[in-house]
């Protein structure tokens, strides 16, 4: 199984850089007119060495090995900005970049230490932190709302909640989990989690170029999900949602899947009357790449936030399709030290500076990577006394009476 899956021409086999032209999406790559919009919109465009248009030139010139040999593509945080802006509609982040990054990753002389540890941990323990898989569901003990584990209740449920790694292990992710459980209960939704059996969805391993690890995790999770009966999957992991929707189907995943933010937005009419506590927040919302640019969920989080009494919504200079990545995608979550050593500005710091400029006192997010990234970045830029970071679900739960 490979990174890019055939979307048409099903007898053409697996898409590679060598046979791109056999696939409609691949052929489109060669329609590039070298306008440079991709490089200009790339958050690390200055550092990329080979931005997408240069990759295409090198590919056409038969010099792609030079691109593979350069570590520049490690700076790609797969934020989908180049793809969203390409006037030719080339699926750069979906088709071209994963194929190139896989080759770059395989040829890296040294994998940056932090990233290597995260990948080895994910391989061995099913989470990048290197925590015990037997503690994956430990957070649920601290939830005031009971959180059933599907293997223990032994019956079908409506919603199977795929928790993901940062929510399962990071203390701030645990906060968002407790809020999510509270919302499920308030809506009367019959839900359960996979508990300790769940493993990382693996999307960031795929997008940094470690596709073998992604395939392994995909197989393991699909096999696990097949054991249980449920109507749909809801996950708070923006990258997990993206992988389930777009990549897992190639491995036999055929379940209905929702990200929790748009899922709760669907139930807004029933949530709104329960939002009775007034919150004194001016909120600016950060569009997560995987939810916004890649899946078009721009209005749903804002509708939820606008429904909270007392909340005033303001927008950053770059929002919606122009949102700037937190820097955590495509393996960036474990490359902060590497980027810092190279003297790059951390994207999370660039982002919180913009958030502070709005005058807001709360930064709302929908991706589990962002809470810790932005809280750390606020401390670095000296803004942590002026602004808090909250997952949208945390703000909703806060506005509900217990």
């Amino acid at each position: 199984m490979s990174n890019a899956t055939a979307t048409a021409d099903s007898d053409a086999g697996v898409m590679t850089l060598a046979n791109l032209a056999n696939f409609p999406e691949g052929r489109k790559v060669f329609s590039c007119m070298q306008c440079g919009t991709c490089a200009a919109t790339c958050p690390y465009g200055d550092e990329m060495g080979f931005p997408p248009r240069a990759i295409i030139t090198m590919l056409e010139a038969g010099l792609i090995e030079e691109v593979f040999a350069s570590p520049g593509l490690l700076n790609c945080v797969t934020c989908y900005a180049c793809m969203a802006k390409c006037p030719r509609g080339i699926k750069l982040t979906e088709v071209l970049l994963p194929l190139v990054k896989e080759q770059v990753f395989t040829r890296l002389k040294e994998v940056p230490a932090e990233l290597q540890k995260a990948l080895e941990n994910t391989m061995r323990y099913g989470n990048p932190m290197g925590e015990s898989p037997r503690k994956r569901a430990l957070w649920a003990k601290s939830s005031p709302v009971p959180v059933p584990v599907i293997s223990e209740i032994k019956r079908p449920v409506d919603v199977l909640w795929f928790v993901e790694c940062y929510p399962a292990y990071h203390p701030r992710g645990n906060d968002a989990n407790r809020a999510t459980a509270k919302l499920f209960k308030a809506l009367g939704i019959d839900f359960a989690i996979l508990g300790n059996e769940e493993k990382c969805a693996g999307e960031c391993a795929r997008l940094v170029g470690e596709t073998g690890l992604f395939d392994m995790l995909t197989d393991s999770n699909v096999k696990l999900l097949r054991k249980y009966q449920f109507k749909r999957i809801v996950t708070g992991g923006a990258h997990a949602y993206d992988a389930f929707k777009r990549k897992y189907p190639a491995a036999g995943f055929d379940f209905e899947v929702h990200h929790s933010t748009p899922f709760f937005a669907q139930h807004l009419a029933r949530i709104k009357p329960k939002l009775t506590k007034k919150l004194d927040y001016t909120v600016t919302y950060h569009d997560a790449c995987a939810l916004g640019r890649h899946n078009g969920f721009y209005d749903e989080p804002r509708a939820l936030l606008a429904a909270i009494p007392g909340v005033k919504l303001v927008e950053m200079t770059h929002s919606g399709v122009n949102s700037i990545c937190c820097g955590g995608g495509g393996g960036g979550m474990w490359l902060d030290t590497y980027y810092a050593a190279k003297g790059y500005e951390r994207l999370s710091e660039r982002r919180v500076k913009e958030a502070l400029d709005t005058g807001a006192n709360a930064l709302a997010v929908s991706c589990p990577y962002e809470v810790s990234r932005f809280e750390d970045a606020l401390k670095v830029v000296g803004g942590d006394k002026r602004m808090v970071v909250r997952d949208v679900v945390e703000l909703l739960a806060e506005a509900m009476e217990d």
Partner: protein
């Protein structure tokens, strides 16, 4: 320049260890094993030497659950041959492991000659580092332990040994020799999963029967227990002023103010 790397697995402490019902050993119910970290460094040092000088790197291990994954990963990283010693059961003492390795190296056709035998200088279940030296004695070769650098020239290995307080000593060791590796010159390399899977398809792991060795007269475990909690930190609660008052009171009570 050919190198033999001895590797073994140890309990993974990411999983909380529990004492078994016999009170003398680990509960194996949830126990997972992992490659001894220093053996991983020994492998890396061998691969670095191979990158520099060429030659073959052969892996020798004691059979254990999941050992094939460890060996295929090492083959994918660049080792040339993998051999596991089967039929020895669960080897719980380092002395026994040293005898099994020593006998196997000496008796198995095709494992020798090599220029170096590398292995981790210690392990979490062998903090005294009792594995490598008896093997060197069995082979009649010199031994250097706590090695953090090694270079090879004709019939001589130049090694850096680490001592307490940041002191290092450089030694010339005539080869063949056994080295106990504390750390490789670089952190162990990453190998993509796809390469490990390719190694699983294209390479094989050889097995040799465990040689008959005399039971080692070693240390017998009498009792195994978790550390007992004997004290705890006291958190001072309240406003800054209240905490300051409590702190002053505590210090005064202990005669420090």
């Amino acid at each position: 320049m050919d190198i033999l790397v001895l590797m073994k697995v140890v309990p993974d402490v990411v999983e909380e260890l529990e004492v078994g019902s016999d009170g003398k050993s680990l509960d194996t119910g949830f126990l997972r094993t992992i490659l001894n970290e220093r053996d991983d460094h020994a492998l890396e040092q061998a691969l670095l030497l191979k990158d520099k000088h060429g030659g073959k790197v052969t892996l020798l291990t004691l059979d254990a659950p999941d050992i094939d994954d460890v060996l295929f990963t090492a083959l994918a990283k660049g080792a040339d041959r993998a051999v596991k010693i089967c039929g020895a059961g669960s080897v719980s003492s380092t002395q026994m492991a040293a005898r099994l390795f020593g006998e196997t190296i000496a008796k198995t056709p095709g494992l020798l000659p090599v220029d170096l035998v590398l292995t981790g200088v210690s392990a979490i279940d062998d903090l005294d580092g009792l594995l490598a030296a008896p093997i060197a004695q069995k082979l009649g070769w010199p031994y250097a332990g706590v090695v953090t650098q090694a270079t090879l020239a004709d019939k001589t290995a130049t090694v850096v040994k680490e001592f307490a307080g940041g002191v290092r000593g450089e030694y010339d060791v005539p080869t063949p020799a056994v080295l106990g590796i504390q750390a490789a010159e670089k952190p162990p390399r990453y190998v993509p999963v796809a390469k490990v899977r390719a190694a699983m398809k294209s390479q094989t792991i050889e097995s040799v029967d465990a040689p008959a060795v005399e039971a080692a007269a070693g240390v017998e475990v009498q009792q195994m227990a978790k550390p007992r909690v004997t004290g705890h930190a006291e958190m001072l609660e309240g406003s800054a002023d209240e905490v300051a008052d409590k702190l002053c009171e505590l210090l005064a009570k202990r005669g420090l103010l």
